[in-house]
Symmetry: C2
Subunit: 309 residues, 2 copies
């Protein structure tokens, strides 16, 4: 399938605005009432960590997956926003001095730099908790069984066997805990499937869940999300190698400096490009049964490996 990149990017940007509006509502004026019960410093830090940036790729995947089944509107938007809140919390915590110690994120100071460490820890905790509050709320879907599946899936993608576990493995791969700094290729794939793949995969699956899709169709979205997630991470590693600091808006070359192995090290730049192309084809193949309706999601897979930041 071919990709009309500019019209895809338009779609992505338009949806990112809708996500921003949803997040603004969740972290907005009525929350910022300034009473003692709503600590303004914490809310400001949550807003710093969650608003005003990012492609909002995960919520886009949720919305595009739901549209495969003819579902649009508030339900996929809120489910996607909840997933984005988990993504944002993980960035806030991963940037902390005790973790990756990053000063910049999307060209702006990280939350612990703009505020302080304690505030950043609490803002991350609050964003994570808010994600579950949003997902479990009746406004997200009238059917409590569907809200329950969304909540459970989000918790699994975020927890021990997903993002948190992946970040722990990533720290260990730096040799912090006495282990060697170089992982086998399979271990790199497992680590990345957890750290970044689990939430991207769930973002795609969540669209099917919101739409009440059957198990077969859910499995198709999961297969698509897994391939897209793996391609995303390799593309990220290539960007980390190639891009200059300005284009990324964050410190680059850190993985290399930390001595961590990536698939780009293991496969070489050309091999990594081929692996990306293979994964994009795999993502497209998973959606073949949906035919032309899946074009947007296929475009998203192409975009993921072609993006420059």
């Amino acid at each position: 399938m071919s990709t009309d990149t500019s019209s895809f990017v338009d779609q992505l940007l338009r949806h990112a605005e809708a996500v921003e509006g949803c997040l603004e509502g969740l972290l907005g004026p009525d929350v910022q009432s300034g009473e003692i019960g709503r600590p303004p410093r914490l809310i400001a830090a949550m807003r710093h960590g969650a608003l005003g940036g990012g492609k909002r790729l995960r919520p886009f995947l949720t919305a595009a997956a739901a549209r495969l089944f003819g579902i649009a509107g508030e339900a996929p938007l809120r489910a996607g926003a909840a997933i984005e809140l988990v993504h944002c919390y993980s960035l806030v915590h991963d940037d902390l001095p005790a973790m990756d110690d990053d000063d910049l994120r999307r060209g702006r100071p990280t939350v612990h730099k703009a505020f302080d460490e304690a505030t950043a820890i609490l803002a991350g905790d609050a964003l994570l908790t808010l994600a579950f509050e949003v997902m479990a709320a009746p406004q997200t879907h009238p059917d409590p069984a569907i809200r329950g599946e969304l909540t459970l899936g989000l918790a699994r993608a975020a927890g021990l066997g997903g993002m948190v576990g992946g970040q722990m493995l990533d720290l260990a791969a730096e040799g912090r805990y006495g282990e060697t700094g170089v992982l086998a290729q399979d271990d790199i794939r497992t680590l990345q499937a957890m750290k970044t793949g689990a939430l991207l995969t769930f973002a795609a699956e969540a669209g099917a869940i919101v739409a009440g899709a059957d198990a077969t169709d859910r499995a198709r979205l999961v297969a698509y999300g897994k391939a897209l997630g793996a391609a995303f991470q390799i593309a990220d590693d290539m960007l980390d190698r190639e891009a200059d600091a300005q284009a990324m808006g964050k410190a680059v070359g850190k993985d290399a400096a930390a001595g961590k192995g990536t698939l780009v090290d293991a496969l070489g730049i050309d091999g990594a490009r081929r692996e990306c192309a293979r994964l994009v084809s795999e993502a497209e193949a998973a959606l073949a049964p949906f035919g032309a309706k899946a074009q947007t999601l296929c475009d998203a897979a192409h975009f993921t490996v072609a993006r420059r930041n």
Copy 2:
């Protein structure tokens, strides 16, 4: 109502064992498989933070509240365990160097002392996430609407308007962010209702939710929980004043050193004792419609203010 303290403590200890067993199952051998997908260091840190200590008062309240409506077994036990996981996560994060900087908790090294700061941040994140996974799982209750209410209530008690918000206010009350160190009595009450009250209140309410109780009975448990939570915190502040480090198993007198006002400062020791007694009566009054069935919960309120650690 009178209190048979020793038989109440027996009940509390017996239930704490059941909670320990449940948490052990959630963080146990099949989770600790040692594959790369289940980072053993993270699991060890989660176990350190969640197992082997504590009165498990919150799960006890959930179980005792459910028994008011004739409900016992797995549902209230799992709901209580999920609440306890949130309590444990909050201790792990509050102890961090950037927050309260505590080296000891229940007489043992805190998680960041036994492991390291990054691991403690991640273990807290993982315990919080696991709490939602447990609450949302079908094993907790067959009715998805009830699981949904439990999940939503837990998120509200834990988040911005609950524990996280309360901890932020507590840090601000230390004068970290340029504000004055002394709070008005009403502000102390608000802070404590959020920081410790919200989860204790929800623990009691969760028992009613699990049992499918109506709104009137839920409101009674909420009123009970609010009074008990307020009494709990004043008792804690009195212990902080009086107890020696050995009996508490943690550093004492820290609140005084940090210059934070507590209700004990505002009311004096005698006034604080009277306030505790008033709150216990208020807790009992809220449950009066249940008659003798509420004895265990009334005992719990008395225990809360009489405990020595």
